[in-house]
């Protein structure tokens, strides 16, 4: 299990995480939610060792991640950054093959098992017939799915995703998140996802970690965690939380002036 204990992280002198602890349930989709600047992305980066913690530690099955080499870690945890960068020459196939980077020997390349993995990853995201195209020529939704395929071929048990649907149109947001959720159900992966849209998080996540100012305010199964009280504590506004078509919905109150009540 991936767990963070008492993490303190800062950018220069600005503290971003202050004594944050969280654990991520294996085989479940956990959403990290909170207002802008609460440290969601920083937490994700610290979980992968992209940022160093001042105090506290991140452990994977009890071993601190900084004791695990980068290549070994890459086989256990995959990461999809919020802003992806892909040179314009690169094809979907090349991007996906890079997912196995940590497994290739110095003079080696993908083996038969890897190649099966590539094909099934492309199948999972529905891009089997697009492998020859350049990533830069794909639509936004396809591009995000290509990246998810790349992350899948890393063949790790744990996936960390930073705002995977941020720039996508609404229908794509649902397709991509359906896909992400199926990774936990169908493939047994542990997924930790930063989502700034509370309603999307409520609709898709099994577990929820709510952050504010670098601390965990509430954590647990989604239906127990999103309540009017926690929403008030985290986002500083009053909201109705109710169920519709078996999904949690969060509807902020509005004051007379028309803006959300403070």
């Amino acid at each position: 299990m991936l767990a963070a204990t008492d993490l303190t992280v800062s950018y220069g002198k600005t503290p971003v995480l202050s004594g944050l602890s969280a654990a991520f349930v294996p085989g479940r989709l956990t959403a990290l939610v909170g207002p802008n600047g609460c440290g969601k992305s920083t937490l994700l980066k610290t979980l992968l060792g992209l940022m160093r913690a001042d105090t506290g530690s991140v452990t994977l099955d009890g071993t601190p991640i900084d004791r695990i080499g980068r290549r070994a870690l890459a086989r256990r945890i995959a990461y999809l950054p919020q802003e992806t960068h892909c040179p314009d020459y690169m094809t979907v196939g090349e991007l996906v093959e890079l997912g196995g980077h940590s497994r290739y020997a110095l003079m080696g390349g993908p083996d038969a098992r890897d190649r099966n993995l590539f094909r099934s990853a492309l199948e999972t995201v529905g891009l089997t017939d697009q492998a020859h195209r350049r990533v830069s020529r794909l639509s936004g939704g396809q591009r995000q799915r290509a990246w998810i395929a790349m992350v899948l071929t890393q063949d790790s048990d744990i996936l960390l995703m930073d705002e995977p649907v941020n720039h996508l149109d609404m229908p794509y947001q649902y397709t991509v998140l359906d896909l992400v959720r199926s990774l936990t159900r169908g493939h047994g992966k542990t997924v930790v996802c930063v989502l700034h849209d509370l309603n999307l998080a409520a609709a898709f996540a099994d577990e929820m970690v709510m952050l504010r100012e670098g601390r965990t305010i509430a954590a647990g199964p989604t239906s127990d965690t999103i309540t009017p009280e926690t929403v008030r504590d985290v986002f500083s506004f009053e909201a109705d939380i109710f169920r519709r078509h078996d999904r949690l919905v969060c509807l902020p109150h509005r004051d007379d002036a028309g803006s959300p009540a403070p």
């Binding site: 992806t84 090349e94 110095l106 094909r119 020859h132």
Partner: protein, 352 residues
């Protein structure tokens, strides 16, 4: 070893280890190699001494020629050709590495001032510490190149996304350092200053077997560099965070690759002086011949670099019989239009 298709349909030659090389890249490498050999053979027959290609080639494999001709062949032409190829190989390799490292397709060891840093350090060595052994020269050059690299990193930072601004900073440093070099030139003894001023412009003027022997170890070093670095560079293209997440220890490999790139540049500066623009144009020409990534791109770029220097040197020897035009000058004159073409391509790509 067999041919297969990659995921994206590219035909590749696949080894048992899983490593594969696109057939198009292999064909390009073969084509470049043949071209290099042809130009080298042609270059053997070019120069002030009357010695044609046929006789020169026969002499190389053992036939007898006159003393003057033998001198021209063995002490002038052959060292020029070999040193030119080696220097071009290293500089182009360095350029290709710097481009992937900084994710800036316009990076060039000359334009970034790294070559001039190495050059100035060498001048300082020559002027102020003439007693030190010559074997030290590549290390002094490396220190100078690394000094400039550190200065740029200090002024700009790794994370600076703006490639053009970095390039302008490099050009500023390059101008300053060139001026420093011309000042230092004053303090060199008059008998060496002609050779030195040639060297400052990038020249095979001083090519000899002893220079080649001094340069050979660094040239040989380029092979393990290609093997080790080429693999890392692929993941660099996806950005730092993704590369780290993919298992590439960017924090360790990036400084190592930078040092390797500066080392290759510095060694070639020690041998032939700075060759500006070669490092930026060679990889783009290689890309135009056959698109490649990782190690293959490094090899193709290096081949193009060696080819360009040998060709440039041959052209200058063929056309200016009485004076030796510095090769660096020829490379700049050929290089700028190609660099502008690169700028144009870059502009066209960003439109889409």
């Amino acid at each position: 070893m067999r041919t297969a298709r990659r995921l994206d349909g590219r035909r590749v030659l696949r080894f048992a280890s899983g490593l594969d090389v696109p057939l198009a890249n292999l064909a390009a490498a073969g084509f470049l190699l043949v071209l290099v050999l042809m130009i080298m053979a042609y270059a053997l027959g070019v120069g002030a001494t009357a010695l044609g290609i046929g006789d020169a080639l026969r002499a190389v494999v053992g036939a007898g020629i006159g003393d003057g001709q033998a001198f021209a062949l063995w002490q002038v032409r052959l060292p020029h050709i070999l040193l030119g190829f080696m220097a071009g190989w290293c500089v182009a390799l360095s350029g290709a590495m710097l481009q992937s490292l900084s994710q800036n397709p316009l990076a060039d060891p000359g334009l970034l001032g790294l070559s001039q840093g190495a050059m100035v350090a060498l001048m300082v060595l020559l002027v102020f510490f003439p007693g030190l052994p010559h074997g030290l020269a590549p290390f002094v050059a490396l220190a100078g190149g690394l000094g400039v690299a550190a200065l740029i990193l200090f002024l700009v930072g790794w994370d600076q996304a703006d490639g053009l601004a970095i390039l302008l900073m490099g050009i500023a440093l390059e101008t300053t350092l060139s001026a420093v070099a011309s000042l230092l030139l004053l303090y060199t003894p008059p008998e060496t200053s002609y050779a030195l001023s040639n060297w400052l412009a990038g020249s095979l003027f001083g090519a000899s077997w002893s220079v080649i022997a001094g340069f050979a170890p660094w040239f040989a070093l380029s092979l393990p560099v290609i093997l080790l670095v080429g693999r890392s560079l692929k993941s660099f293209d996806l950005g730092d965070e993704t590369a780290l997440a993919l298992g590439e220890n960017v924090r360790r490999s990036r400084p190592a690759i930078l040092v390797a790139a500066v080392l290759l540049t510095s060694a070639s500066v020690t041998a032939v002086g700075p060759l500006i623009f070669l490092g930026v144009i060679a990889p783009h020409i290689a890309d135009a011949i056959s698109r490649s990534t990782g190690r293959t791109r490094l090899v193709l770029s290096a081949l193009v670099g060696g080819l360009l220097v040998v060709a440039g040197d041959t052209l200058t020897r063929a056309n200016t019989s009485d004076v030796a035009l510095p090769t660096g000058l020829a490379i700049t004159i050929i290089g700028v239009p190609l660099f502008i073409a690169t700028l144009r391509l870059r502009a066209l790509r960003t439109v889409q």
